[in-house]
């Protein structure tokens, strides 16, 4: 960091996922050296869900982190404070006291609950935990995952559901060159799973997954992707839509294919909802009900449960039915939409309420848990534009504390704070451990990360 901070616009960004990084880069683009950024993350690592969500066999996508880190740091006045949780080590009020503006980019790291009896049986996992487990998120590295059954079931029809199904079925050879957490690689190497059922509550035309992810399933070795042709027979496709055209063709190809003898199977089933997770002490089955589709008066297609139900035997259920944010104490939250209430990135004191001066949101906690990595870029532009307009209009409160007192405060509260250099040491260490076989071998425990980070402190 160059110079002192007199005259600088001091901004705290909470989070270090793509929304945070795009925001920092955009602040530098429009404000140059006049903007000083303190980026705070509860983990010692930078990247958010790009590190801990994006699938290990899609690790090429993680390169966005490097690119945006560079841009964020190009103004020369960027600081990272890792292993610091807002709401625990430092409060929202303290951030405000030290900065002209505070931007929340905390994402949505929890799962929407699966609201059926038996959902908390062992062997039934929300995607946030299961994905965190295979990606080595320190919160989930110890998740007790058992792969000792022939069939697994994934509930939900989004890209996360397809990620989970793919990882469960991808052979060891393909995962060896990925950056999957070592504990997950080992568990999957002795997995007994031969079949994964992915369950959509609506029809193929309403599924939330995208075509690239659907098409990729067909490329997996030793795997048959199966769709019951009867499920495609009466689908009302929107023919004008390019993505629907591709989806229809690919699903029809899967429905026609006879499959590879003795291969593992991935079954895409539609119009079924879980109604009960069965089992005494752990998951033994899942009771499903067949749905039918109904057009609502608002033009939406919804699933309505019918009469017929059946039971799938399974020992592992992962529900990938969407994510949910939970902001730290003292911040407004709209429990219905799962976001911090805001208008174009300006935080409001409640849904439809008044703006809170100097407080902003960006990314999933602003828009809800939807959209790909790049969606956060335009979102960050909008938030930064609002902030800069407020700054120009004299609408930002003057911080009561000087900028130089922020780092000492953090150090006092969290002696194990990880600096940018500390994170880069972890990053380098992980890449070296990959030994050219895989992009990196992740550290999955905060203590181990701290040991490496301290080596450069």
């Amino acid at each position: 960091m160059k110079g002192d901070d007199a005259g600088a616009l001091r901004v705290a960004i909470v989070g270090s996922g793509p929304a945070a990084l795009y925001t920092a880069a955009e602040l530098v683009r429009v404000g140059g050296q006049d903007v000083q950024v303190n980026m705070i993350d509860r983990l010692p690592t930078i990247g958010g869900l790009v590190r801990a969500g994006v699938a290990p066999d899609h690790a090429d996508r993680r390169q966005v982190i490097d690119v945006y880190e560079k841009l964020a740091r190009s103004g020369g006045r960027f600081r990272f404070h890792g292993n610091v949780e807002v709401g625990r080590h430092v409060s929202h009020a303290e951030l405000l006291a030290h900065h002209h503006a505070v931007i929340y980019a905390i994402g949505a790291s929890g799962s929407r609950p699966l609201d059926v009896p038996g959902a908390n049986l062992s062997g039934c996992h929300p995607s946030s935990e299961f994905v965190g487990w295979y990606n080595g998120h320190p919160d989930h590295a110890d998740l007790p995952v058992s792969l000792d059954c022939e069939r697994a079931v994934v509930i939900g029809n989004g890209n996360v559901a397809l990620d989970v199904a793919r990882i469960l079925l991808k052979g060891d050879d393909a995962l060896v060159s990925s950056d999957i957490a070592a504990h997950a690689r080992e568990a999957l190497a002795t997995s007994r799973i031969r079949e994964v059922c992915v369950l959509g509550r609506r029809g193929p035309a309403q599924a939330a997954f995208t075509h690239p992810e659907l098409l990729e399933l067909g490329d997996l070795e030793d795997l048959s992707v199966q769709v019951d042709p009867a499920e495609l027979a009466s689908v009302d496709w929107r023919s004008d839509d390019f993505a629907s055209t591709l989806r229809k063709a690919t699903l029809e190809t899967y429905a026609r294919s006879r499959g590879v003898p003795n291969a593992r199977r991935l079954l895409l089933r539609f119009m079924v909802s879980p109604i009960e997770v069965l089992g005494r002490s752990r998951v033994e089955g899942l009771r499903l009900v067949r749905n039918r589709l109904v057009n609502t008066s608002e033009g939406r297609v919804t699933a309505v449960p019918g009469e017929r139900s059946d039971v799938l035997q399974t020992g592992l259920v992962v529900h990938a039915i969407g994510y949910r944010g939970s902001p730290p104490q003292g911040l407004p939250f709209d429990a219905v939409s799962g976001v911090i209430p805001n208008r174009g990135g300006r935080m409001l004191d409640g849904p439809g309420g008044k703006p809170r001066a100097g407080q902003y949101v960006v990314g999933w906690i602003k828009r809800g848990p939807r959209g790909v990595i790049g969606s956060n870029k335009l979102c960050a532009r909008e938030t930064v534009r609002a902030l800069m307009q407020d700054a120009a209009a004299g609408g930002l409160p003057v911080p009561v504390r000087g900028g130089e007192s922020f780092s000492p405060l953090i150090h006092a509260r969290q002696p194990d704070v990880v600096s940018y250099r500390g994170w880069k040491a972890v990053d380098r260490f992980e890449r070296q451990r990959g030994q050219g076989v895989r992009p990196r071998e992740k550290l999955t425990r905060v203590d181990d990360m701290l040991r490496v980070a301290r080596s450069v402190a």
């Binding site: 899609h58 090429d60 996508r61 390169q63 966005v64 490097d66 690119v67 945006y68 995208t210 075509h211 690239p212 992810e213 098409l215 990729e216 490329d219 004008d240 390019f242 993505a243 055209t245 591709l246 790909v372 990595i373 790049g374 969606s375 870029k377 335009l378």
Partner: protein, 88 residues
């Protein structure tokens, strides 16, 4: 020849900013950008300058004849996007 975007695209539109002939679509200014699954290159307009491939942060753009095996379907998918557009 043409360049081709493959399925790992994360829609961050760095490529559209550098393309000299605006053949990468949908661009962020278009309403369609918010819902598109990925971006596509129009093979009839691309002048093969490689600027997009150099700019893409995640290497999701390849020359059509050097597509890695797992992405070969994307040559046709990129072209089909523009054919369907012409029709509608």
């Amino acid at each position: 020849m043409t360049y081709v975007i493959v399925g790992s695209c994360v829609n961050d539109a760095v490529c559209t900013e550098v393309c000299p002939v605006d053949c990468i679509q949908p661009a962020p200014e278009a309403g369609e950008f918010a819902t598109t699954e990925m971006l596509y290159i129009d093979p009839d307009v691309c002048i093969d300058c490689k600027a997009c491939a150099d700019a893409c942060p995640i290497n999701a753009i390849y020359p059509a004849e050097h597509l890695p095996d797992k992405w070969t379907a994307y040559r046709e998918i990129n072209a089909a996007f523009f054919r369907q557009r012409m029709r509608s």
